[in-house]
Assembly symmetry: D2
Homo-oligomer: 149 residues x 4
């Protein structure tokens, strides 16, 4: 999916979309960069993301993976077509310490008319190797229709 | 995995464990029943679980699936051995409306010395068919060791 | 998905479809029963399915899971619309011995206009507990179109 | 997982291991390269891998993904410890034409004492973008023990 093309939406347009559509989590994430094939998203780890022992909860990492590939898809097709997560597969490989932020690197593997598929590696600031891996599929509804998959 | 045996921990013991270990989410869930092979867990849907349009967020459903199979595993092996989620696969099939609570029915498919595997169907109070499906694997550390998988 | 309705195709119609569309594997499987929500498929374990040590190979179990949910979907929508597997998640829980046939019990969790989702448990004749679990998604192309997802 | 270190087994040692342990498929695959973190494996597409319409079957692609990450794990830990596939998640994104060989690029994301996790992209000789993606987990039994997970 590499190319010289630019995505339909840039970082600041994506940020405004995030604020509009996910107001509950808008302060949790910062979009670092986006292209036609990749996105980098930082998650600011806060108390609500932690589990006893000071590690980061599974649902928090799930949320980071999901928002990353979702925004990467929206960046290509624009904000009107609301994609719907239909499948996620995730491996938790190392325990991130709660004192560090997380960074997701996501890559678009397929952008079809009906489905997009992406994969993500999640890194903790204090570890070289990824703490988690995820792949997910979104259903892209036809223009003008409801998201009835 | 059906049998007449009782699990090591009953509903009220599991509830106390939940309060101790996951204080942030202790008011989100109520354990309805537990056996050697199955558990039923209700999630009280609140504002923090919602997405615009009034549906329930993916991370919230992930959290319900994860806590259900986790507690079902702990119910069999006791609270000392801390299992670690290593893998989850999840399909989102229908959009639950945010005005209804969710119920997870989880089943234990394998309880080995090192790995447990379970699967979950999540239902919304207003729909006959499941809104989501998940399967997950937990690594069970040897007694006395840290969770180094 | 339980109901009194009958599926569009019965066991013998499904069997003829299998012979036509998958001639390479037509002697590997026997469809035992099919309804609007469930199918039971037996796999006759042969030398080509084995691994050293006498166990059954992963690809063989994958094939059984895939053919089961595929036929269950086709049974509902008819043979004209050719569904395409887009995602599979599978857990291998116990080693089946190669001397026994396998049986798959599959269940349809969703049959939408564009996607179907099913899950399977695979049993070996000599074990009470399932040897593997799978969930899969099929993309259903619009009538008259090619399978361009 | 990048480093200057060499894996415990090189391409020709891995090939001999493949011939010994998987005699049924030894002529299907050629190991192109292996390092401490990556492996490249070619699959020679033959009649037995095809589906009507001339595309390659799902079980064949599953087999290629599985053998690739399996050999990548064995290359690091040696042939004595027999790893067992416990989980696979796979997305099928494009239809490869049956007239071209497939190449798998696999990467090791985690090599723990008990679990290894890897991911794979599968390419067809005639397409720039990957035709499939997989991630899988292997259980590594303790030295001297049976693979009882």
């Amino acid at each position: 999916m590499q190319s010289n093309k630019k995505p339909l939406m840039n970082v600041s347009q994506l940020h405004r979309f995030l604020v509009d559509v996910f107001p509950q989590v808008k302060n949790d994430f910062r979009i670092e960069s986006v292209s036609c094939s990749e996105i980098k998203v930082k998650m600011f780890v806060q108390d609500k993301h932690l589990r006893p022992g000071g590690t980061i909860s599974g649902p928090s990492m799930f949320g980071l993976a999901d928002v990353s590939v979702y925004l990467l898809t929206i960046a290509q097709i624009g904000p009107k077509a609301l994609a719907v997560t239909t499948n996620i597969s995730m491996d938790f490989m190392r325990k991130p310490s709660g004192g560090n932020d997380l960074v997701a690197w996501a890559r678009l593997l397929k952008l079809g008319r009906r489905l997009s598929v992406g994969e993500v590696l999640i890194f903790s600031d204090d570890l070289d190797n990824p703490v988690a891996r995820a792949s997910m599929t979104y259903s892209i509804p036809p223009v003008g229709s409801k998201a009835d998959v």
